[in-house]
Symmetry: C2
Subunit: 144 residues, 2 copies
DNA sequence: TGCTTTTTTGAACATTATTTTCAACAAAGT
DNA sequence: ACTTTGTTGAAAATAATGTTCAAAAAAGCA
């Protein structure tokens, strides 16, 4: 039940979809990467395994994975939608270097708690959030 | 020096640009709205005042305003870049209803402080951040 | 002022990321 | 096997934004 592959199979079944070689391959490739991958980047890797797979299928499958709860959309400032495995490992936010683009994942429980509190104060039920911190990493700070 | 218009004039001068009626109009319209406006929405309003203004000019000018520090880019989940006046009034984050899209501006000093702290812990110099909380507003909660 | 240089503008076209259409295909059920 | 339904890849369609380019306008100078 925790294995992404079985989560996906289950999702497939529940929604009367079909498990296909393409979907299987894309899921495999996606899970193997710990990076934040854009659809296009994923597509490149997928093609190395099966050049016949189409770009649209990758887009479609990533959306599926997202719906199934296996992938999570991530938006940096640029116009590209990236995905990260939302697997067992816990939620995190992002600390991005404005100069070199390096992205590190961060988490602060106190912030998480305050976010919840803040939503409640406005009578909202919090379902999710995204937080991006922008700054200069030590390396770039010296470089300039 | 605090007035957005003089800030813009100054910026114009500093960068050997020219103050034109279009830029002036776009700035005026932009300042009059407290909403988070996408370029296209702004364009519609601008056209009511001067139908001759082109879409590209609005895009270009918004980018200028952003560079000049008068406007601030805002990214919700959709692929649209919105702008808000970054004027005198203070920074805020966003609490967005996933159902009806209603957006309210929120701020929690404790969170702000922790963000700073978190960046420092990773040896980053924080230059900015964006935080979006997603949830269900009271109205939509009842509606469903 | 009139001329020159430089920037700006609007329109149309180019680009990027993503979605949709559609005919060919494959899987599942009967 | 036959039908139904979901899937695929390719190509075309969208949507937001950026760029090109010739014409227009501003600023600097003679």
């Amino acid at each position: 039940m925790k294995d992404p592959k079985s989560v996906f199979s289950e999702y497939i079944e529940r929604n009367n979809l079909k498990m296909t070689p393409q979907r299987h391959l894309i899921l495999d490739v996606f899970l193997k990467t710990e990076e934040h991958m854009a659809s296009e980047e994923l597509y490149d890797v997928v093609r190395e395994h099966d050049p016949a797979v189409g770009q649209a299928t990758v887009y479609r499958t990533l959306k599926l994975l997202s719906d199934a709860g296996i992938a999570r959309e991530v938006h940096f400032g640029d116009g590209v939608t990236r995905y990260e495995p939302s697997q067992s490992d816990q939620h995190h936010d992002h600390l991005i270097c404005e100069s070199c683009g390096t992205n590190i994942e961060v988490l602060d429980e106190r912030i998480e708690k305050l976010q919840e509190e803040l939503a409640t104060k406005h009578d909202y039920v919090l379902t999710g959030h995204s937080m991006y911190l922008y700054g200069l990493c030590p390396k770039c700070r010296k470089g300039s």
